[in-house]
């Protein structure tokens, strides 16, 4: 039944561009998939490993700038630059992870240091010449599949679908792997994990590098899709917040949570815009309120809600009813 559900889901996902003719709604679908990708990336480190990053914009921006600079300044093929952006994102993740985990930063300290790293990168991108400074970078319009620029939104949709599905697959594999089991153990109790032979430093490094690589790909997609980036768009704290919202709302440390959260967030965001208008900052207030409500009342996210609805009472692994 589960595989049947999955097959139907894949068929539906593939059919979307045929059914959804509105550019606007296809754009919404692309945004959901991109958010699924970043959310699943964040989930590798934050959801499975319990290391809450508030600075995933560092990887997103690194990927976006890597792709844009390689294409524009070095004339690298867009697809190669896209792949390189993943490597750069992973390397930035490794670097930040090495520095913070080496010195045992955990919890809110880790969250703060990642936020700080992203800010440093934003300021550097603002100051340097080869990043275009505060003006940002405009990628030249050269429509063609070889240049990773599609004539229609459907092309971008399929690329985003591949990326989003790939990121979900990474979570699925993680849930069935030793690294995943070790990361969850670290999340639940780091000392106990160490006592059982888990090299927590190495595990966290692998997680942050993987998470950074996936997020870097998302950044590159953003650059190739919108053809414009600037330091605020790439490295801004708003990006970090948007990235972590989807998995938290959907269900931390679950395979499908990032997708569910991304979809719910986008729908809720559109509704809020229609109801409250498009005043600047309003969306942030909305996100903030949503986050507080979720953490307070639904710590297991939407997946937890589904779980409770589907399963009979008493079997749910909440631990409260022993």
């Amino acid at each position: 039944m589960k595989s049947g559900l999955l097959a139907v889901g894949i068929a539906m996902a593939l059919a979307v561009p045929q059914v959804v003719t509105s550019e606007f709604w296809l754009g919404v679908c692309i945004a959901v998939l991109l958010s699924t990708l970043t959310g699943a990336a964040w989930n590798v480190l934050g959801g499975f490993g319990g290391q809450f990053s508030f600075g995933h914009a560092a990887f997103f921006g690194a990927g976006a700038y890597a792709a844009a600079i390689l294409e524009m300044r070095f004339g690298v093929n867009a697809w190669l630059a896209f792949a390189a952006a993943g490597v750069v994102g992973g390397a930035v993740g490794f670097g930040i992870g090495y520095l913070s985990f080496r010195y045992g930063l955990r919890g809110s300290y880790f969250a703060l240091i990642t936020l700080a790293f992203a800010e440093v990168l934003r300021i550097l991108a603002n100051a340097a010449d080869f990043t275009g400074g505060g003006v940002g970078l405009y990628l030249p319009l050269q429509v063609g599949v070889a240049n990773l620029q599609f004539a229609t939104k459907a092309g971008y949709y399929y690329l985003a679908l591949g990326l989003g599905a790939g990121a979900i697959l990474v979570g699925w594999m993680l849930e069935r792997s030793r690294l995943g089991a070790w990361l969850v153990a670290i999340r639940e109790n780091e000392d106990a994990a160490r006592a059982l032979g888990v090299d927590t430093f190495a595990c966290k490094l692998q997680a942050i590098a993987l998470s950074g690589a996936l997020t870097g790909l998302a950044g590159a997609f953003y650059a190739d899709y919108y053809l414009y980036i600037d330091p605020g768009l790439a490295f801004g704290p708003g990006i970090s917040v948007e990235i972590l919202l989807a998995p938290i709302i959907g269900g931390i440390g679950t395979v499908w949570g990032p997708f569910l959260g991304a979809a719910a967030l986008r729908v809720a965001g559109e509704l809020a815009r229609r109801l409250m208008g498009d005043a600047p900052g309003l969306s942030l207030i909305f996100y903030g309120a949503l986050l507080v409500i979720m953490v307070k009342f639904l710590p297991d996210g939407l997946i937890g809600l589904l779980d409770r609805a589907v399963r009979p009472r008493g079997i749910h692994a909440g631990g409260a009813h022993a």
């Binding site: 070790w182 969850v184 109790n189 106990a192 006592a195 927590t200 631990g319």
Partner: protein, 255 residues
């Protein structure tokens, strides 16, 4: 002693600020033994364990496992070499099932998820937790949590098991259940060093005891001998207690 020592602790010292937690403590454990480490609260037993298992680096002294110096080696590396510990204050992965908890330990030797889960089921069943395997660890009773600590450690396939008060807080029935479990482990070839307060269990399980008091080893020997040593009695009951007890015994004999 039954041959070359598996674990050799030489003059370990640890100071926390002004507190001398462990002071020049030495002990040895030979392959196949069950050795006890007892002492009053605050004697430094858990600190000594923490140093052996790599969680706390000693200020001075040496830990040798299998003749190799492992002093200051990180915990996961010590575990990889075959020394597993439990925690006095149990540290379950609360939201994971009992099986998943044990599987984390099993993963040390088994990369494959299914193999680790199968091994976890095996170890859990051996330790009498078959009915609890799918329960979240947070829902377990104290006794079951202590057993889970042991199961997780056993799943790492250790050759030396460091058990930190796995019997504290258990009722007599639970105690009676856990003693044979530990014996079976020993019979399966696992050497055990255990910290314990429950003297009845210590006496019935161990071949040799070390007594730690105020950071120093003050006595060593078979349980029966230890129980009658005046230094040990005084460590628990206060200075002069041994004499007073002896005096009372003499007075009683005289009546």
């Amino acid at each position: 002693m039954l041959g070359a020592p598996m674990l050799e602790v030489l003059a370990l010292t640890k100071r926390f600020g002004g507190l001398l937690a462990v002071s020049g403590a030495s002990l040895t454990v030979a392959q196949g033994e069950i050795v006890g480490l007892i002492g009053p609260n605050g004697a430094g037993k858990t600190t000594l364990f923490a140093m052996i298992s790599g969680f706390v680096p000693p200020d001075s002294g040496t830990v040798r496992f299998d003749g190799e110096d492992v002093t200051g080696t990180p915990p996961h590396e010590i575990c990889r070499r075959g020394v597993a510990r439990t925690f006095q204050i149990v540290q379950p992965f609360g939201r994971l099932s009992v099986r998943d908890n044990i599987a984390v330990g099993a993963h040390l030797r088994l990369a494959d998820r299914q193999a680790a889960l199968a091994r976890a089921t095996e170890v859990g069943t051996e330790l009498g937790m078959a009915a609890l395997l799918d329960r979240p660890a947070a829902s377990l009773t104290v006794a079951a949590r202590k057993r889970l600590e042991i199961a997780r450690a056993v799943a790492t396939a250790p050759r030396l098991l460091l058990l930190d008060e796995v019997m504290a807080g258990l009722n007599p029935t639970e105690l009676a259940e856990i003693v044979p479990v530990l014996r079976a482990l020993r019979d399966a070839g696992v050497t055990i060093l255990l910290i314990e307060h429950v003297m009845q269990a210590v006496v019935s399980l161990t071949e040799r005891l070390y007594v730690l008091n105020q950071g120093s080893i003050i006595a060593e020997g078979p349980p029966a001998k230890i129980a009658s040593m005046s230094a040990v009695v005084e460590a628990y009951l206060g200075h002069g207690a041994a004499q007073r007890l002896a005096g009372r015994a003499v007075a009683g004999a005289a009546v």
